[in-house]
């Protein structure tokens, strides 16, 4: 088997079709992870120490075990579980599996943002007699989230590169198309190279963008800290 440029150029349009599925799935997983991330933050602030540590360990468990196994659990094992089990289509399973896995990372980002809010802000909101809801939505979160935006952007790129895992449960995106082409014509290297190039084409410019954003934000929030 040798390198063939014909095959290379032939597979570009095929795999480009899968690109949009990969990108779409990335955003869907990311949205799920971003919302579900708040669940862990919420659980880590419950007054009961036992509940806190239980959820802390669950999050740690999800974070340090392979997302691939979690994906298989949701796709193959979940439907078999009596009563609560439902069959999921590969897309939903991928969004749930990768979304839950990365929500544990997102919650760490949120937590670091919340912890960076000055203690005086908490005290002032209590002194002003704001309700818990007002305190969070009007005072804490508007200050906690913006400095974490570059970090949140980094996770978007990281998730983009994890989404091909979904091809193992049958989501027909870039990697799946490449492997299908390969098994049909016994040409794997060319389509896989195309897939790699597409990943590079999207993730490298985004990474540069994020690092620019990071520098900008660092300046912005440092300045704020200096003047206050």
């Amino acid at each position: 088997m040798n390198w063939s440029w014909t095959v290379f150029f032939e597979t570009i349009p095929l795999i480009a079709k899968g690109l949009w599925i990969t990108v779409g799935l990335t955003f869907a997983c990311y949205l799920f992870a971003a919302v579900f991330g708040f669940f862990w933050v919420f659980m880590s602030r419950i007054p009961s120490k036992i509940v806190r540590s239980i959820f802390g360990w669950i999050a740690e468990f999800i974070r340090s075990t392979p997302p691939l196994v979690q994906l298989f659990f949701i796709f193959y094992a979940w439907p078999v579980i009596p009563v609560v089990g439902v069959s999921l289509n590969p897309f939903v399973a991928a969004i749930l599996g990768l979304g839950i896995h990365f929500s544990t990372y997102m919650s760490e980002v949120y937590r670091s943002g919340i912890e960076s809010v000055d203690k005086g802000q908490w005290e002032a909101s209590t002194a002003l007699n704001l309700s818990t809801r007002q305190k969070w939505t009007k005072i804490i979160l508007p200050q906690a989230i913006p400095p974490t935006i570059p970090m949140l952007g980094n996770y978007l790129i990281i998730m983009f590169k994890e989404v091909p895992l979904a091809s193992t449960i049958g989501v027909v995106a870039m990697l799946h198309i490449a492997n299908d082409y390969g098994s049909q014509y016994y040409k794997f290297v060319e389509p896989l190279t195309v897939v790699a190039l597409f990943f590079l084409l999207l993730s490298y410019p985004s990474a540069i963008l994020i690092s620019k954003l990071e520098k900008k934000y660092n300046r912005k929030f440092d300045k704020k800290a200096m003047t206050s």
Partner: protein, 220 residues
């Protein structure tokens, strides 16, 4: 219905491959990270250019794509046969995580205050002595917590090797599942627990290093 000990003993057959890939990948990626990280702070433009290219290529593409690519391209395109697919897996994982970890090495070396370099120049230390005795010891303690995090990432990445046909934990899990469908929840939960047990010492290491790296350091 298979029993729990039955499932457990089936999965245990894959433990050796998982641990072997994990240990070999940790060793190789650490070496790659140190070499690439040091190269990126070199003053030689060619060296920084080449390593920069390597790091961006491997960080910019997905590990699972790299794994498939290596497993087909090494024998097919370059006619390289590594003897065992274990080495293909180790090569892909190490090159990928070596690239990520080289960024921590570079970042930590650059985070050592410039005054330390200036002082070592003033003390007439050679370039090698400066790195060996002044910069690296201070940089290493900054690297360790992040390094621990990447070790956990490498453990999670080893689950991918079953996709190129290696007989690791997940491989035996999938085999068992295909013949005992009703047991699949137990199989995958047990697998997750086994991965978590392997991860526990790495989590402990990371937490410990977080404390160590903060101890005795003047902040700001």
């Amino acid at each position: 219905m298979g029993s729990l000990p039955d499932i457990f003993s089936t999965l245990m057959q894959g433990l050796k491959v998982t641990l072997l890939v994990l240990v070999l990948s940790i060793i190789c990626s650490t070496i790659i990270a140190l070499v690439a990280g040091l190269s990126r702070v070199s003053t030689n433009r060619l060296v920084t250019g080449v390593t920069g290219f390597y790091v961006e290529i491997f960080r910019g593409t997905s590990l699972i794509v790299q794994l498939f690519w290596f497993s087909y391209a090494l024998p097919g395109l370059f006619n390289i046969h590594l003897g065992s697919d274990i080495w293909v897996a180790v090569l892909a994982i190490s090159l990928n995580y070596g690239a990520y970890m080289s960024e921590i090495v570079r970042g930590s070396i650059q985070a050592v205050p410039a005054g330390q370099t200036e002082a070592s120049i003033a003390l007439n230390l050679s370039k090698f002595q400066r790195m060996r005795h002044i910069i690296i010891p201070q940089a290493v303690r900054m690297m360790l917590p992040e390094y621990g995090n990447y070790l956990i990432q490498i453990l999670k990445a080893t689950s991918l090797v079953s996709l190129i046909g290696l007989t690791d934990l997940l491989y035996y899990g999938n085999i068992y599942r295909s013949t005992h469908l009703s047991d699949s929840p137990t199989v995958y939960l047990l697998l997750l627990v086994m991965y978590f047990v392997i991860a526990l010492p790495l989590i402990g290491f990371t937490k410990k290093m977080e404390r160590v790296s903060k101890k005795g350091v003047a902040l700001g």
